[in-house]
């Protein structure tokens, strides 16, 4: 579903990604872990071209994302993204946040979009917050609305960029639950996170990144118990 070939990304002289090659299958949940500065967020942001790769190729659903001729807006409509800081639109209510893109990008009528949004909000238990502005939501609620906003586009893939890192500890669980349910429904997901419990329980595969490269990858079971690379072991040793 996603094929990444020899991806490089530099910011000026700083090489953040140094040759990433991997394939992500449909319905697979891939968890990307690694120390800060390892390039995992940059890797994720390259997948929907929020960062333009310096070289290399990304193909999503047989469409080359990195080809300049590709309409990137079409690709992005199929790739949902959830941010660390939620990035909800503060001048719009939760419902308006969710229905905007389906109306403007997918061309849904307001009624269709609102029905879809209400269904999704009900699923995550936030229907009573539909007409509330983001300002009056808790961090966990904001992130759940942000996930809903991405899902309302009915994307083929969901990218999560440290979705729980900005949350108070007691709110991490509610967001992870939403993500877990999503994985169980068969959503293809790429998740950058420090939540090792989530990686273990929900991930089909774990990528360990360091210094812009994938150092090691494999099933969570193998990575967490029998990592082969020294760097992987030392990283896991520090955080587990």
């Amino acid at each position: 579903m996603i094929e990444v070939t020899n991806l490089f990304k530099s910011f000026g002289k700083l090489e953040v990604l140094r040759g990433i090659t991997t394939t992500i299958a449909e319905k697979e949940v891939v968890v990307v872990i690694g120390p800060s500065g390892s390039g995992k967020s940059t890797f994720l942001r390259c997948l929907n071209l929020l960062e333009t790769p310096t070289s290399g190729e990304i193909v999503i659903d047989h469409v080359s994302v990195t080809d300049p001729k590709t309409d990137i807006n079409k690709v992005r409509a199929e790739v949902g993204m959830v941010f660390q800081h939620f990035n909800l639109f503060p001048h719009k209510t939760a419902l308006e946040n969710i229905i905007l893109a389906p109306m403007k990008v997918r061309g849904l009528s307001r009624q269709e979009a609102e029905e879809r949004a209400s269904d999704l909000l009900r699923k995550i238990g936030l229907e009573e917050k539909a007409h509330v502005y983001p300002d009056s939501l808790s961090g966990g609620q904001k992130q759940r609305v942000a996930i809903t906003r991405a899902l309302a586009m009915q994307p083929r893939v969901m990218l999560f960029d440290e979705p729980t890192s900005a949350l108070d500890p007691e709110m991490v669980g509610e967001v992870l639950t939403v993500m877990k349910n999503l994985a169980q429904e068969g959503m293809t997901m790429v998740v950058v996170t420090h939540e090792m419990g989530f990686a273990r329980e929900v991930g089909d595969r774990v990528l360990f990144m360091d210094e812009g490269q994938i150092v090691e990858e494999g099933s969570p079971e193998r990575i967490f118990t029998q990592a082969e690379q020294e760097r992987t072991k030392s990283f896991l040793g520090k955080i587990l």
């Binding site: 807006n73 990035n87 639109f89 905007l100 893109a101 403007k104 300002d135």
Partner: protein, 222 residues
């Protein structure tokens, strides 16, 4: 004398208000175009906007007024050999509008830039185009932040229109001077002029504060 001057000053103040209103409206139109050009991907637009802002912000309004009202007709006379005087209102408003546009351009630019990058990223990652992002996400938020500095710009321009008295445009200051020429009472009349300006600027800041409150929909966080 002070009270006898008031009706004269009042008609001048009316002129000052509508001249300022038209000049700032012109300035807002120019400023929005120039401010957005400054942020465009097009190098020509960016440079043009920058040159415009630098020129009109970096030179005195008084000289700009004189150049447009006196300089341009004399240039046209030298070229065509015909006298083509500019209407004093047209010249005055044009000069003030062009000047105001440079300041508004900077207000618009900084207002747009003050919106968190994450907003653009969220909108674009949903598949929205640059234009849709600007229209539905960035501008509605930027407008709220731009209202207070625009109010300041209106107040500054209102005071600066007093410079138009040098080309004989009968706004508040000029009206007062004409009255002094008849009555030889500079102190009460100039004092009256000042108080008139003060009354106008205070009213505007009240209006701006009101507009700010009304636009302040809950967006303190995020």
């Amino acid at each position: 004398m002070f009270f006898r001057a008031l009706p004269h000053l009042f008609t001048g103040a009316i002129n000052t208000i509508w001249i300022t209103a038209i000049a700032v409206s012109l300035g807002v139109i120019i400023g929005v175009i120039m401010g957005m050009s400054r942020l465009s991907g097009n190098l020509f637009l960016r440079t043009a906007s920058r040159v415009y802002v630098d020129c009109f912000r970096g030179t005195p309004l008084l000289v700009q007024i004189l150049l447009i009202y006196i300089g341009i007709p004399s240039l046209l006379f030298a070229i065509t050999g015909e006298q083509m005087p500019i209407n004093v209102y047209v010249a005055g408003i044009t000069a003030c509008g062009l000047n105001s546009g440079a300041y508004v351009a900077e207000i618009v630019r900084s207002g747009i830039q003050s919106i968190d990058r994450g907003q653009t990223e969220a909108a674009r990652s949903l598949g929205m185009t640059k234009a849709q992002t600007m229209r539905y996400i960035i501008l509605p938020q930027a407008i709220k932040r731009v209202i207070p500095p625009l109010g300041n710009e209106f107040i500054a321009m209102l005071k600066d229109t007093s410079l138009l008295s040098v080309i004989g445009l009968e706004e508040l200051t000029r009206k007062g001077q004409l009255f002094i020429a008849v009555t030889f009472a500079p102190f009460p009349v100039y004092l009256g002029i000042l108080l008139m300006y003060l009354a106008m600027t205070l009213s505007i800041s009240q209006l701006v504060a009101y507009a700010e409150r009304r636009l302040a929909v809950s967006d303190r966080s995020n």
